[in-house]
């Protein structure tokens, strides 16, 4: 009899413990699954690495500071080594796991998986700002203005600030891939639509360690501005060669010399580290706040990096800011959907993102302008800040700009 009582009491104890854990689990709130696939190693990992850290840190911050109340974000980050096949494998795994939003990285994989995104009806925020991502696509949301818009805006900047007579003679220095080639057509369209500049040559760089011949050729053709759309290392090589040959303009637009300008992935602290003094005067367009221009946003960025023990290189990287930004937009979409009393699903997050405009526009602390999306506008931050290298760091040049010709050629 005694042993039966003990058995009963033990069973009761086990049930009580199990019940207690169930209650705790319910009180802990829901966990929303997000998937991210990007190049932490391999090509372009110099950008992908801090990008991943930014996203990881911000989601940690959201969970620890209870931004979503008791609910949390469970974001799995996987390395795809810049390979579309691995990205697809990661994506399929995330879909099997039931993610509600997907964060992607490269241009190739975003274009390659576009149809999967459509079929899954899942909102996607890529790190690729390729305009082609938006063609025949409803679920891809670019975090900032497309490369095309950035290159056209930079071209407009060249025309407005051109020093010298006649048309501004420009050469394009681009990455030999879809990523590099995409915006060139739009720049040509802008010229056809009346942008007063001449595209003298489009150079697709290889893995050259010396650009002397190419730079001399551009000089002989009367080129005054070189617009770059690639990654930092080839730009750094070119800038060092130009500096060594004495071809770099000492001030913006100096006649008989070359002034170098670049789009998003060409600039940043990595360029300064690679090119050193040779990048003095380099003009760069970017939609993110930089830590070299202190404001509330950059203070928060640095505090976040410090909180999670990131080194200075990562903390000051604009790619770290870009990683935070996509996490911010994701969190905001979840928060707004939750506040509206809706369930957190792919469909509801998609609708919330589409309503992120007008007075509902979202201002993350990492960007220089608000994020706006609608069914017809899939580029988040439309504004661009022009920066220029002065005293070894990027400094603001004027107020944020927006392309005018892009609207004409769209």
């Amino acid at each position: 009899m005694k042993s039966r009582t003990i058995l009963f009491l033990n069973a009761l104890l086990v049930l009580s413990v199990a019940f207690a854990f169930t209650v705790t689990a319910n009180a802990a709130g829901k966990a929303y699954k997000i998937g991210m696939s990007l190049a932490i190693t391999g090509p372009t990992s110099d950008a992908g690495n801090p990008y991943a850290k930014g996203t990881e840190d911000y989601f940690k911050f959201v969970n620890e500071t209870k931004v979503l109340g008791d609910d949390t974000i469970d974001c799995t980050i996987r390395d795809d080594q810049y390979k579309t096949a691995i990205t697809k494998r990661n994506f399929e795994e995330y879909i099997d796991d039931g993610i509600v939003m997907y964060l992607n990285y490269s241009t190739g994989s975003t274009l390659g998986l576009k149809r999967d995104f459509e079929e899954e009806k899942i909102p996607v925020l890529p790190a690729s700002y390729h305009a082609g991502n938006l063609d025949d696509s409803n679920y891809i949301f670019l975090p900032v203005a497309s490369y095309s818009e950035q290159l056209v805006a930079l071209s407009e900047f060249v025309v407005k600030n051109h020093k010298g007579k006649g048309k501004a003679k420009v050469a394009m220095f681009i990455h030999p891939s879809a990523f590099g080639r995409g915006p060139v057509e739009d720049a040509k369209k802008a010229v056809a639509a009346g942008l007063n500049m001449e595209i003298v040559e489009v150079v697709e760089h290889g893995k050259d360690l010396d650009n002397s011949a190419m730079l001399k050729r551009l000089m002989s053709k009367g080129v005054q501005y070189v617009l770059c759309h690639t990654v930092q290392s080839p730009v750094a090589t070119m800038l060092k060669d130009s500096s060594r040959l004495g071809l770099t303009a000492s001030s913006y637009g100096e006649e008989g010399k070359l002034t170098f300008l670049g789009v998003h992935y060409t600039g940043g602290n990595d360029l300064i580290a690679l090119a050193g003094d040779a990048c003095k005067g380099f003009v760069w367009s970017c939609s993110f706040n930089l830590t070299s221009e202190k404001n509330d946003g950059t203070t928060k960025q640095l505090a976040l990096a410090k909180k999670y023990g990131r080194d200075d290189k990562a903390a000051n990287s604009h790619n770290y800011a870009a990683g935070i930004m996509v996490a911010q937009v994701t969190t905001e979409a979840i928060k707004r959907t939750k506040d509206a009393g809706l369930e957190i699903t792919k469909e509801n997050l998609y609708n919330t993102l589409n309503k992120m405009n007008g007075k509902n526009a979202y201002q993350p602390y990492t960007t220089i302008g608000p994020v706006t999306y609608s069914k017809t506008d899939r580029a988040g931050v439309d504004m661009l800040q022009i920066y220029s290298v002065q005293d070894g760091m990027f400094k603001k040049v004027g107020e944020p700009i927006q392309s005018e010709f892009m609207k004409k050629i769209k």
Binding site: T41, T84, E92, E93, I95, L111, G112, K114, P176, S177
Partner: protein
């Protein structure tokens, strides 16, 4: 031939015909049939995630490609380090149809078996062309010739607007007798298609090796002058080895295009060619079952090292980069270790296991 048709503890052939049997004993045949039934039926009994099915499909495609590489490098002894380009030829054949007719054209979506075969023949055509230098070149020089083809292929795809300059060219969803194959059944459907292809091509190679065409490959590999003296045509044999290899690669490429529903340049780079070669070496050059072991081993290794990197990343975030960098390191190390300690590949372990079980419980 052994008196017992179910068990044989040694070779008792009395005619060449007996030696050329596909299965030496009834037990071999039964085990193989059972194995095939299991391979075809397990997905109907157990549900596997899309990711796992994608991994398995990918391994099966690699098996098709490595069978082709094994023909030219393993059986014929001709080094090819441009195999991914041949796979690319197959994939871009499907892509070309999509570009010219539209990716949802009936030929792409309904006549896909025909398109897969056409892709194989395109691979064979390019294989024969690339094989022409083999008439005059050997060893390292031939390897460089195949490398050149890889480079030319990459350049053409990267710069020709017809091929979308290497960007993804989409391939539409195919139809089967039950209707359109949707996203839900996509990987399972292609599992059956690719598995059927692997079985057919596997039997194709097994039978080829019983013919004089198959034997001439081995004869030319072992000593082409002796083969010439025996009345074979070494030049033609080499070209046809490349063509045959190209056919397998072309079929693999077309399957890849349909599985991924798109063709992008980066799946057919030099790195992929080296991976195929590694699979062939690890599996066992010059053996049919080596073509199965190699892709399984290399893909498994790739996945496991990836998982290790993830686990390390969870506990030591700063160590994740190092752990991920282990991937190429492990890949290289495995090849070196196999070349040093087991140049005959995993296939040799299989051979040892088989011969042991054949005589068990006796030692000899």
């Amino acid at each position: 031939m052994s008196a017992n048709k179910w068990l044989a503890t040694g070779n008792f052939f009395t005619t060449y015909k007996q030696e050329q049997r596909t299965f030496l004993t009834n037990l071999d045949q039964s085990i193989f049939t059972f194995f095939l039934v299991v391979l075809f039926s397990w997905p109907l009994l157990f549900h596997l995630s899309n990711k796992s099915m994608l991994v398995i499909d990918n391994i099966l495609i690699a098996i098709v490609a490595v069978m082709g590489l094994n023909l030219v490098t393993g059986f014929a002894g001709l080094i090819s380090i441009g195999h991914a380009a041949f796979v690319g030829i197959g994939a871009y054949t499907v892509a070309s149809f999509c570009r010219t007719m539209g990716d949802s054209h009936i030929i792409v979506t309904h006549f896909w078996p025909l398109l897969i075969i056409i892709s194989g023949f395109m691979g064979a055509l390019f294989g024969a062309i690339v094989g022409l230098p083999a008439l005059r070149l050997k060893h390292l020089y031939l390897a460089i010739a195949t490398l050149s083809f890889q480079m030319i292929f990459q350049w053409v795809i990267n710069f020709m607007s017809f091929f979308n300059q290497g960007q993804t060219i989409f391939v539409g969803r195919v139809f089967w007798v039950t209707g359109k194959v949707g996203r839900k059944d996509h990987y399972l459907f292609w599992y059956f298609v690719i598995l059927t292809t692997v079985v057919l091509l596997g039997f194709g190679i097994r039978n080829l090796m019983k013919t004089r065409y198959g034997r001439s490959l081995i004869a030319v590999r072992d000593n082409d002058r002796a083969a010439d003296a025996m009345g074979m045509n070494p030049g033609l044999t080499k070209v046809y080895a490349f063509a045959l290899s190209g056919f397998f690669a072309g079929v693999a490429g077309a399957l890849h295009a349909y599985l991924y529903r798109g063709v992008g340049f980066e799946s057919f780079t030099l790195h992929e060619s080296i991976s195929y070669l590694a699979m062939a070496i690890v599996g066992g050059l010059g053996t049919l079952n080596g073509s199965f072991w190699g892709p399984v081993a290399i893909n498994f290794l790739d996945l496991k090292v990836g998982s290790l990197a993830e686990v390390v990343g969870q506990y030591m975030p700063s160590g994740m980069n190092l752990a991920t960098a282990l991937k190429p390191f492990t890949f290289g190390l495995v090849i070196v270790l196999f070349l040093m300690f087991e140049p005959r590949g995993i296939a040799n372990w299989w051979r040892i296991t088989k011969s042991y079980t054949k005589m068990w419980p006796f030692r000899y």
